[in-house]
Amino acid sequence: MYNKSLKELSHGLKNGDFSSVELTHEYLNRIKQHQDLNAYITVTEEIALQNAKDADIRIASKKADPLTGIPVAQKDIFCTLDVKTSCGSMMLDNFYAPYNATVIEKFNQTGAVMLGKLNMDEFAMGSSNETSFYGAVKNPWNINRVPGGSSGGSAVAVAAKLAAYSTGTDTGGSIRQPAALCGITGLKPTYGRVSRFGMIAYASSLDQGGPMTHSAEDAALVLQTMAGFDPKDSTSVDLPVPDYSANLNHPLTGLKIGLPKEFFSDDLNIDMAKKLAEAIEEYRKLGAEIKEVSMPNLKLAIPAYYVIAPAECSANLSRFDGVRFGHRCNNPVDLTDLYTRSRGEGFGKEVKRRILMGTYALSTGYYDAYYVKAQKIRRLISDDFKKTLTEVDVIMGPVTPTPAFGIGEKMSDPVEMYLSDIYTIAINLAGLPAISIPAGFINEMPIGLQIIGNYFTEAKILNIAHQYQQTTDWHKQTPKGFA
């Protein structure tokens, strides 16, 4: 059953071929079997089985939605009522959220089955899932390699079929990069499309939740549930949610694809360039026109991002102070000691690095040179995208510079690690939607193709991704031992 698409699973459930409880048991068994991948932080077996029973009743009474009864696993960044919500941090190891994130509410309403909470880089800060308090997650394509991050657990859960689909969040590539490195489909929606309420903030002006699935067709169904206006989130956009599945089969004749020369410079790994060229060729065959475009400010995306994101995070993470929730140090002698030790003990090294960086960038004397400068560059990058997207329908490029690297390989050099997000970060600065879809293998490790669209054109992006997945089968590949 776990090899079926969401549409097939939904059909099977409604048809009575299998029950949600059976399906849920199958996934729970697989999770136990593949614990060594370390994809889950918490498995919510009881909740899952209760959800499944409820779903079976709902399906029997013919009130099922497309996702009713299908098991999902949530990134451990979404607050789930009375369930541990750790955000991959020791700081929240004892945190049982007293409320549900809006996204969780939406899945509950549609009758989804929650299998558990997925491993991630601590507070979503990382590109390899090695900064988690709960240990590194292993890539099922090669367990000595990283799965990418920060939604590493989410990517692995789907790739290894430990959930029918999962959720992730993307601040600088945290959905797309692990999706690419694990050979699955990951969509970062337009900023404001999916509610951030109850999603523990890393960098508020960049964070966006989205689906991680086997295919674009699956992603359309999951986004349908996740998207929508939320009055509890001031940055949520009040626009109607289109039917994301309706235009999946729309032909691509005349589609204009832009290839930024900055993405395809000599710096791009030669194997990667070759694989991407093959994917682009596939689109040409599907009737698309290919055009070279230029976005000269893209090269400054990394420095701008590593000012803005840490600055926002330095304030976002101040609430973790050992007073109302989360880790508190033993026997604090005074207030400063309470704060300093609780935070010093509760946060890991990468989180501290970013808090320090952000605090520095906002401090007196440096604010203009770093923070304001970065915001100006953000504007220039955003303008580059806006202009380019008047010339072409979508922009395509790599997701990552290389396939998955080895566990431990880049942990000693933060700058090296940051550079692995070079192709994804600019999209968050602009707030645009983008998808990563499997586009082949280099040395038996999957790589991704990135498709970037204009604001709120998720349906178009999904259509473009789906058409590719109709003529290729990269997205159907399963790592050895997980089929």
Binding site: V323, V333, K376
Partner: protein, 95 residues
């Protein structure tokens, strides 16, 4: 641009972030490396550019002034490290 261990200690104090003294050196080195990355930004003239705080060019939505939240103290207190008589407790605050 490079940061000294003294700089790191000052920033860490502003952020109320405990750092092991043997790690200060490596934080100084890491942060200096990241700051080197930032220097690329200064190469570009941005005098006439408006800073962009948000990807969406939108106005703040306003909420009606209606009470929507009920008392949920017991639930919130149940996850707090130290409480008494409905209060969160902290080491003595001296003003």
């Amino acid at each position: 641009m490079s940061l000294t261990t003294n700089d790191v200690n000052k920033i860490a104090h502003l952020a109320r972030l405990g750092i092991d003294s043997q790690d200060t050196e490596s934080y100084a080195k890491d942060l200096s490396g990241i700051l080197d990355l930032m220097t690329q930004m200064s190469e570009l003239n941005t005098d006439k550019v408006e800073p962009m705080a948000h990807p969406m060019d939108q106005a703040q939505r306003l909420r009606h002034d209606n009470i929507t939240e009920k008392n949920n103290r017991d639930k919130f207190m149940s996850i707090a490290p130290q409480t008494e008589d409905g209060l969160f407790l902290v080491p003595k605050v001296i003003e």
